[in-house]
């Protein structure tokens, strides 16, 4: 295999691996920009993946699966919202709790309902999101360089991949170019000012939490009914936390999120590629280095050695209207 084909294959798998990260990191971005920290991205993806796998199996429709995933993730998000916005509980503690509830509940129900060790039954192709061939992909496949790029890298992904990439400019536009976005960002930086202007803090934050649920649910559905053919227990395997790291690394900016997730996806793709392969001059590279890199890079960034990551100012704190 020549170098160009290898590169295309690695980039292709980068896109596939980055997709759930992009969706989940954008979800976190919505929530945290409104002042609600969410370390429960992992849990929401997991319930989304489980709901999608279950409902797609029962109905045979990927769309019903996606809908169920969104509903389940939004429901879990609303529990987080109730605990942190209404009951003013600690956002970190609530996120930790819901991650456990999600991990336990999906494995428990999966085992109780299907008796396949926490898996949902394998889905036929018609119950999954299938690769979409973009117009002309097979026609230009033989054109050197650009043809390969288009037919292998740009074309041939499933719908949710394109949706994830579309969600980046949409998030950016809504957050920075609409009144709703302005208010949402304001509520994450200075809720008292928003309150003084006569806009409800609570409702705005709940809306952000719901958007977060929609995106994490989609990320979960991608895992179980687009990338794989069914749910397996703990199938998120820390992706929610990598997305959290990506969000911080991207300094809470949508376009940065895209590039950070692509970088983390690329590291993952290279790690898979290099497994058991001896690199000339270096020898066998331990896969753990690539597993650790996203976290290590994020810690270095947080330490302020490469730029500064400043979170939304009012993040992590419940808003109390009357202080008297």
């Amino acid at each position: 295999m020549d170098a160009f084909t290898t590169l295309i294959l690695i980039l292709d798998s980068t896109v596939r691996l980055a997709t759930p990260l992009i969706l989940a990191a954008l979800a976190g971005l919505w929530s945290e920009r409104s002042g609600v920290f969410d370390i429960g991205l992992e849990g929401k993806m997991l319930v989304g993946a489980f709901a999608a796998g279950t409902v797609a199996h029962l109905t045979g429709s990927p769309w019903a699966g996606l809908g169920a995933a969104i509903l389940a993730a939004v429901a879990l998000g609303l529990v987080h919202g109730f605990a942190t916005i209404t009951a003013r509980g600690n956002q970190i503690v609530s996120g930790v709790a819901l991650n456990f509830v999600a991990a336990g509940l999906t494995a428990l129900l999966g085992q109780a309902w299907f008796q396949q060790g926490g898996r949902t039954p394998a889905l036929p192709g018609s119950a999954r999101f299938q690769p979409i061939e973009l117009p002309g992909a097979s026609m230009v496949a033989d054109v050197p360089v650009l043809g390969g790029l288009y037919s292998e890298l740009v074309s041939g992904h499933n719908l949710l991949v394109y949706l994830a990439f579309l969600a980046v400019p949409v998030t950016s536009l809504v957050l920075f170019r609409t009144r709703f976005g302005l208010r949402l960002r304001a509520v994450g930086d200075n809720p008292a000012a928003v309150d003084t202007a006569g806009i409800g803090v609570t409702l705005l934050r709940y809306r952000a939490v719901v958007i977060c649920g929609v995106l994490t649910g989609t990320a979960g559905a991608y895992l179980s009914i687009a990338q794989s053919a069914g749910f397996i227990r703990d199938m998120t395997a820390g992706k929610g936390f990598i997305a959290l790291a990506a969000l911080i690394f991207a300094k809470w900016m949508p376009v940065n999120v895209l590039f950070t997730c692509l970088l983390f996806g690329f590291l993952d793709a290279v790690a898979i590629r290099l497994q058991g392969v001896s690199v000339p001059g270096i020898g066998l590279v331990p896969v753990q280095i690539f597993q650790a890199l996203p976290y290590a890079l994020t810690v270095i960034l947080l330490a302020g050695f490469i730029g500064r990551a400043v979170p939304p100012r009012a993040g992590g704190v419940a808003y109390v209207k009357d202080r008297g």
Partner: protein
């Protein structure tokens, strides 16, 4: 933490935790009902499995030992106003420290010579792994919650590399070290006290060590100058700085104590039970510590009770999964999450009503 209207002590430390935990268990009961099993029968099997016979009690206390250490670890950080989610990674590194000592000396000396050195190594490795996030928080302002999460994953990667490529026993297909000789094994209590009838339960000398740690932390937090400084810093960092308490010093000390306690958990699991280092031996004990600390309100007595409760859930849950296969051990993870939710995030759910009930009555 914000100032609260004063409630009578028994309400604050007795009734509120009880109500919160009751809620968690009621919701758990609904989950059991939803998968078509009988919650009352489940509770019966669980309680019998955990406390009904000597061996069950022994297993309960064995699990509780892990949770006492990790619960204390999370609690001491709480007192300093720090949320340490990294106990899992710190415990893993502690296991590495204990293992290095055991591998070095287990063939030459008896266990009671190995134990102090292994404990020191486990504590130091755990403290060292906590020291980096602590330093980053104190000096560079990196949020400790995020860095400790990252350090859990970094620890997992490091342990994976060490066990697959470096420490693995020659000829072994599993990522494990060799099994320790007698000098690296903590004797189980059933050998020291054959009359109690603990069956084959692995509860061992580390349990006694955990009891000592409970008392030591109580003395440290409530009876020493350092403990006072940690609590002042946790309650009000600004006031602490005016009182001449160094934020850097307290953050470092509280987190390193926390990491050391988490590291000591490995003595129970590695030297007391597995007798070798293996991947993921912590099995979530670091996270259970969060639930234990929240439920026990960061007080050693509460932590002991909460740790025994979670030990009972783990042991009883194993019996339950055996008797009623639909209720797999994942049920314990659900309960754990619900306890953290109700005792932690929703801790103030009943407070306003109780304040109305008790403060008005007592105030007049």
């Amino acid at each position: 933490m914000r100032a609260r209207k004063a409630l009578p002590g028994w309400v604050d430390y007795g009734l509120i935790p009880l109500l919160n935990v009751t809620c968690a268990f009621l919701v758990s009961g609904l989950v059991v009902l939803a998968i078509g099993a009988d919650p009352l029968e489940a509770v019966q099997i669980l309680v019998w499995g955990a406390f009904g016979f000597g061996e069950g009690i022994g297993f309960t206390l064995f699990y509780a030992t892990n949770f006492i250490f990790t619960g204390l670890a999370v609690a001491i950080a709480f007192h300093g106003g720090l949320f340490n989610i990294g106990a899992e990674g710190q415990a893993a590194l502690g296991g590495l420290g204990a293992t290095l000592v055991c591998l070095a000396v287990d063939r030459f000396v008896p266990w009671w010579v190995t134990l102090p050195f292994a404990a020191i190594a486990a504590g130091l490795f755990g403290a060292g792994w906590a020291a980096i996030p602590a330093w980053l928080q104190a000096k560079r302002g990196s949020h400790i919650v995020i860095t400790t999460i990252m350090f859990n994953f970094l620890a997992a990667a490091l342990m994976g590399y060490l066990l697959v490529d470096v420490l693995v026993a020659p000829g072994s297909m599993q990522p494990e070290t060799r099994t320790f000789a007698a000098g690296g094994r903590l004797p189980p209590l059933r050998e020291l006290f054959p009359d109690i009838g603990l069956g084959q339960a692995p509860v061992n000398v580390a349990f006694l060590l955990a009891l000592v740690a409970l008392v030591a932390i109580w003395v440290l937090v409530w009876r020493t100058r350092l403990g006072y400084e940690i609590r002042v810093f946790g309650a009000n960092p600004v006031a602490a700085s005016y009182a001449g308490i160094s934020a850097t010093r307290i953050t470092m000390i509280a987190m390193m104590l926390s990491g050391a306690l988490a590291g000591l958990m490995s003595l129970n699991e590695i030297m007391g039970y597995q007798q070798r280092l293996l991947l993921d031996f912590t099995a979530g004990a670091g996270f259970v510590g969060i639930a234990v600390a929240l439920m026990g309100r960061a007080h050693p007595v509460g932590i002991f009770l909460a740790a025994v409760l979670f030990g009972a859930l783990y042991q009883g849950g194993a019996e339950l999964a055996f008797e009623i296969p639909e209720i797999s051990r994942d049920m314990i993870v659900v309960i754990q999450g619900l306890v953290i939710l109700f005792a932690g995030a929703l801790e103030n759910l009943f407070r306003p009503a109780l304040v109305r009930l008790f403060v008005r009555r007592g105030g007049i």
